[in-house]
């Protein structure tokens, strides 16, 4: 029995919170929990992984693993799975996580549940809840191959400190240069002091009611006061007020924050699909008939230009 493996989603030694969420939740499956860490000179991350419950940490430490590359990572993890036979391997549903898990699943000719929002894993059986049609419906699926493979949406599980032993295991490096088929020519980090949209505790979004850059500026000021991420509805993306990577909705990002604040957003069905699982929703819109009010815990029927500045003053008090 080799338990549940959690692939560590990290870049330059910064571990994504989703990794800690998965380690914390995996403890509940009643099986040994291992973190699987790929990188170069990454052993220093072990205490952090142990803190959230890693009994073991498998480390593949080599130049070839310094940055994510699909071919080498898949070759290495496939070899480790074949040697250790874990019951389940979970990944964060990030761009890298879904790419890695999908290619690995095909190499193993296995099933995979992506973007799961709940999991029941026991004795090598894995059942996952997935949001389909961008959250307009749910499907419950069983991965019928072994190991059970899934990617998990950020923010669906709580981070809990669990104190695992963090015993280090160093498997042989199984990947070679022949496995690498992508050359990374450049990586341009997003220059933003704001948190990642899909990981933020608070998201402030602007829509058509922002009317232009002035309205977006209000949204950004409110966001910065709350340490929040900024998002937008399709109207503000299509108008060029915000970059596409900030679109919330069915053809953009699905977000799951503690608080979502919709400013000047009417709530078209494809936008609601991207945010209605937020724990708390507040909205400000001039149209009392706007569908956003149907999903809002706190709705204000008024002009955001008149509400947001006062709101910021009040929050400062």
């Amino acid at each position: 029995m080799a338990g549940t493996w959690i692939f560590v989603d990290q870049k330059n030694g910064n571990i994504r919170k989703a990794t800690f969420e998965m380690l914390s939740e995996a403890k509940k499956f009643g099986d040994e929990v291992s973190a699987v860490l790929f990188g170069k000179d990454v052993e220093g991350l072990v205490p952090e992984l142990a803190k959230y419950g890693a009994d073991k940490v498998y480390i593949a430490d080599a130049d070839i693993f310094a940055d994510y590359n699909t071919g080498a990572y898949v070759a290495q993890l496939a070899a480790m799975i074949s040697e250790n036979s874990p019951n389940a391997v979970l990944f964060a549903h990030t761009f890298n996580g879904r790419d890695f898990a999908s290619r690995l699943a095909q190499k193993l000719e296995a099933g995979l549940a992506t973007d799961a929002i709940a999991a029941e894993i026991s004795a090598g059986k894995g059942v996952f809840t997935r949001a389909i049609y961008a959250g307009k419906a749910l499907s419950k699926v069983e991965v019928t191959t072994s190991p059970v493979l899934a990617t998990i949406r950020a923010g669906v599980w709580e981070v809990v400190e669990n104190g695992g032993a963090g015993e280090v295991v160093k498997p042989a490096v199984a990947a070679t240069d022949a496995d690498v088929y992508q050359t990374i020519k450049d990586f341009i980090p997003t220059v933003s002091a704001r948190p990642d949209l899909t990981e933020a505790d608070v998201v402030v979004s602007g829509g058509r009611g922002c009317k232009g850059p002035d309205g977006i500026k209000l949204v950004e000021q409110l966001a910065d006061m709350l340490g929040a991420a900024v998002g937008g509805s399709r109207a503000s993306i299509d108008s060029g007020w915000l970059g596409h990577e900030l679109q919330v909705g069915q053809t953009g990002k699905v977000v799951n924050p503690n608080l979502y604040i919709a400013c000047g957003i009417s709530g078209a069905i494809q936008h609601l699909a991207g945010m209605s699982s937020s724990k708390f929703i507040a909205s400000i819109n001039t149209d009392t008939e706007a569908p956003i009010f149907n999903v809002s815990d706190f709705g204000v029927v008024a002009d955001m230009f008149k509400v947001v500045p006062v709101l910021m003053d009040e929050l400062k008090k």
Binding site: V74, A137, F187, P189, G227, Q250, L259, D297, F298
Partner: protein
């Protein structure tokens, strides 16, 4: 150079989802090309317009009515189509196997597909295709340059933007911000009716994932709604709620 584009027929993103006999009902639903695949079709046509490609083949696996998605892509400007008839309950593995078999026969230089489908949201099939075909893959691209048998792609990545080079042939998955798909012209729609579409049956393989049940998410209840108050007064109440109920931290 031959470009092959994989398209999936999906529900219109404005569609309301309902259940019937425990399954997702498609009654009265307008069917479209998955928006991410539509961008891939546009990308393929633009490669032909730039004389980089000389043929654009569109491939779909699905029910008979997926023919409509192929015809739409042909009306946009693709040259010919292939429809692989497959049970709509096929999982990502089975769909990738079926598409890969058709792609092997075509031997294209570039395989384009949307990085995710707007219905199941799986984002698996293009990556699985690349593995079956033993080809490089670049995911979630927003731009591409092709020269000297290589593709240099700009992609949306975790925490930034990445530029990746791969040798062709390769599988390339598109993000919606790559381009703005054209509407088919009336002339295009007329021409599409005459363009050839081959049909074949999918390779029969077992699913690796089984669906236990579909459900609808619990309806979110509307809460407090402040209407008719002076905006500053409403703002004060909203601030109170944020502080006392949500317990936000103010920086």
């Amino acid at each position: 150079m031959k470009v092959l584009v994989c398209v999936k027929q999906t529900f219109d993103t404005e569609a309301k989802i309902e259940l019937k006999d425990g399954k997702i009902s498609n009654t009265g639903i307008n069917m479209i090309i998955n928006p991410y695949d539509e961008v891939a079709v546009e990308g393929g046509i633009q490669l032909k317009e730039k004389k980089i490609a000389d043929e654009v083949v569109v491939l779909s696996a699905g029910a008979d009515k997926a023919m409509d998605a192929i015809r739409t892509a042909l009306a946009m400007g693709a040259d010919r189509g292939i429809l692989i008839k497959q049970d709509p309950d096929a999982d990502e593995y089975a769909r990738a196997v079926a598409l890969a078999a058709a792609i092997k026969d075509e031997n294209p230089d570039i395989i384009l597909a949307g990085h995710v489908a707007a219905d199941d949201g799986s984002s698996q099939v293009p990556t699985r295709l690349a593995e079956i075909l033993g080809l490089p893959h670049v995911n979630v691209i927003t731009d591409i340059e092709i020269a000297d048998g290589k593709a240099v792609c700009t992609s949306e990545a975790d925490g930034g933007t990445q530029v990746t080079e791969v040798a062709l042939p390769a599988v390339i998955s598109s993000q919606v911000s790559w381009n703005e798909p054209r509407y088919p012209s009336m002339k295009g729609i007329m021409q599409a009716k005459k363009k050839p579409v081959a049909t074949a049956d999918a390779v029969a393989v077992d699913n690796k994932v089984s669906i236990i049940e579909f459900s609808l998410p619990p309806a979110k209840q509307a809460g407090i709604k402040i209407e008719g108050a002076e905006p500053p007064e409403a703002a004060v109440q909203l601030a109170d709620w944020m502080k006392n109920t949500v317990k936000v931290e103010v920086k």
